[in-house]
Assembly symmetry: C2
């Protein structure tokens, strides 16, 4: 299925892989392990200056769940390093003790001691908690974590049609739109829950989410992945209806491709035809996204765009964010692995070159998070309310796997 890699490209894959491994092990993980654990109260500090100094001790629950997931995943899939499991445990114990409200839903933010500061209005807190507890249960054989993962996943499915409950401000009856964020996380989460959920149930949720993205959000005619659409795939002619978020689009696309890649390559399997069609569509949609999203003047991918070139609503629309580029690395490397097409390798290289030139901070470790359009840091912080130990190590780990799979296919092809 792959084009054979020539010797030069084979060497380049290995050289780049080695850089990812070094960045993960020598820069990113040491930064978080050294600076983010609250050794007094448990849990993680997320708001870290360039050198790791804590500038706000509040504990944002997205980042607690994500940190637990990340280090548990490294432990289960990369190396059984006890310090990584200990890091995960610090988050798990804090989350178990303080994270949930009386309904079992996860608060959005706590103070450093665990007192809730922001209500459980945000279902993504629950999604990251479920994924974190699931992976930790595998890393540590923790039965309570497993049960929390399962019950949280069940609550997510109960809440998903009305995720914000009483906090909902939008009057959906008058503009019934569907947003891409939840199906995106649903695709990821179905795979992360894995054996903790009955396969038929998990596959049904996965398939429903993939269908929403591929049939509604991806618009073949307009060659764009829309963040919010009508239930028939139509586009409300307003700012939210024209919103493109290149980072989200690339993230959901690689989640979907990684999921369907594992479907059987077997003409007798009912998913066989879909597998090829979704890979074709998903990789094409990555190209549309990169072509619209790339800043030809300064390099890097924009954060937000208006599909029709109208003024974007978000003030930060032209900033360059770490997570957008981390997701883009995963997307294009996977697309290259699946198709062997040079255009995807070229996009991967373009993003990769930008990342090491602009985001990486070899002096203090980790990447900067927020660059101005021209590529200089807007602030030098390494962590904040939305940036923790997650997108970068996930992208590094994921790309290392993809590099290995590319190498294996090449070596297998030559054998």
């Amino acid at each position: 299925m792959q084009d054979p890699l020539d010797r030069t490209l084979r060497a380049e894959v290995t050289r780049r892989k080695e850089r990812y491994r070094r960045c993960l092990e020598e820069s990113v993980l040491p930064f978080w392990l050294r600076h983010s654990v609250d050794r007094e109260n448990g849990g993680y500090f997320c708001c870290l200056e360039r050198d790791g100094t804590v500038f706000d001790t509040d504990k944002f629950m997205w980042l607690q769940g994500r940190g637990v997931w990340m280090l548990s995943k490294l432990y289960t899939s990369y190396r059984t390093e006890p310090a990584w499991r200990d890091y995960a445990r610090a988050g798990v114990e804090f989350m178990k003790a303080h994270g949930r409200n009386p309904d079992g839903d996860w608060y959005f933010a706590l103070d450093r001691t665990g007192r809730p500061l922001v209500e459980a209005y945000n279902i993504f807190s629950d999604c990251f908690a479920a994924a974190g507890m699931a992976e930790y249960s595998r890393a540590a054989g923790d039965e309570e974590a497993r049960q929390i993962a399962v019950s949280t996943y069940r609550r997510i499915q109960e809440r998903k049609t009305n995720p914000k409950g009483r906090f909902t401000k939008q009057i959906a009856a008058n503009r019934p739109i569907k947003a891409m964020a939840f199906p995106m996380i649903q695709v990821w989460l179905a795979r992360e829950m894995g054996d903790l959920v009955e396969p038929g149930v998990r596959e049904a949720y996965l398939r429903e989410a993939i269908d929403q993205v591929t049939k509604l959000h991806i618009d073949r005619g307009r060659k764009a992945v829309y963040e919010r659409v009508y239930a028939d795939g139509g586009h409300p002619d307003c700012m939210e209806g024209r919103l493109l978020t290149p980072g989200h689009a690339l993230e959901v696309l690689w989640f979907i491709l990684r999921a369907v890649e594992s479907w059987p390559v077997d003409a007798h399997d009912s998913r066989y035809a879909d597998r090829g069609a979704i890979i074709d569509l998903g990789t094409e949609a990555m190209l549309w996204t990169a072509e619209k999203g790339w800043d030809t003047a300064f390099g890097g991918l924009f954060y937000y765009l208006d599909a029709d070139g109208r003024p974007p609503e978000k003030l930060e629309w032209d900033m360059k964010l770490w997570w957008v580029h981390a997701e883009a690395l995963c997307a294009f490397l996977l697309a290259y692995k699946l198709t062997g097409r040079a255009v995807f390798w070229e996009w991967f290289r373009r993003i990769d070159d930008y990342v090491w030139a602009r985001f990486d901070d070899p002096a203090d470790g980790e990447w900067f998070g927020y660059l101005h359009r021209a590529g200089d840091p807007s602030t030098t912080q390494k962590g904040g309310k939305w940036k923790g130990c997650f997108h970068i190590p996930r992208a590094l780990l994921t790309c290392i796997r993809f590099f290995e799979e590319i190498e294996a296919a090449h070596d297998g092809g030559r054998a």
Copy 2:
């Protein structure tokens, strides 16, 4: 009370005043009158591109109320131009027909035909509606508008301790902070309601709001105006507790100084000592704000800052916004008028020079709204979800009045 203006400065005041008058009458008002009225459904389009093209037809209620207020105020205080009253009427009729929920609270957003899109979660919608209806009732002798203004003002006072009601996400018991936004608007609104509210009631609300700002938000020791503080004026050591918003600080300070300026200069009046003390404190706080807020590298005032120089939470922290600079013009010109101190005239001139060089758009009228740190437009839009016919014409009108008062004091001093 004023330093006598020398002849050169007297001429400069008049020359600058003339520029404000021309901008108001020949650039700003024509832009909104031409492009923002929905002649089919009533109400105002707010999302306008550089040349006035509508790019989103949703009707954001802050901007409906603000537009009504602005044109009514021009009609009642600047010139009885029938077209201005007609503009205000287009907003009033739309608001009367569609703006309120069954409790009488104002929605946040409607579609172009008046169907509600976003619930009445935001009390500032009500504040702008009350001010708009109050001034329109004076412009047009509209009794229904007067009643709506009065009942809305009453509801605001009922809701003010829990303004977001069921939509409140913050768990105040665990971090009981007071925000400056509501007292700021309360100071403005008390004066705008004027004779529609019993003077004792109005003065009590005004005084309570002034006290909160001067005793809690203005920190003399740290020489800063804090956006959010504890009830004793203490500072939570977290991002929200260290937040400075120079535009808000300057806006509330000029609101307060304009209110206390009208208190009797009479040693027998109970407010006499406070009057002088508040003018001294408020003008000093303007200087602290300008010194911290001015971008010495590129000019202009920052949008957000962290009081301790930590990384600001908001991505757009270093952008230069139209309203921040509009409020700064009013603040420094009023401070100069009240004190005669050259430092305030210098700050006024510095902001004024920046505004005409960077925000003003003589080609298509109005000002740009959103500049990058370096002063180039981030988008060329003239209106959006938060920018309408309000801050700029209000600042122009207000500064024209202040210029006139400075001229009158000078000419009176010489007579």
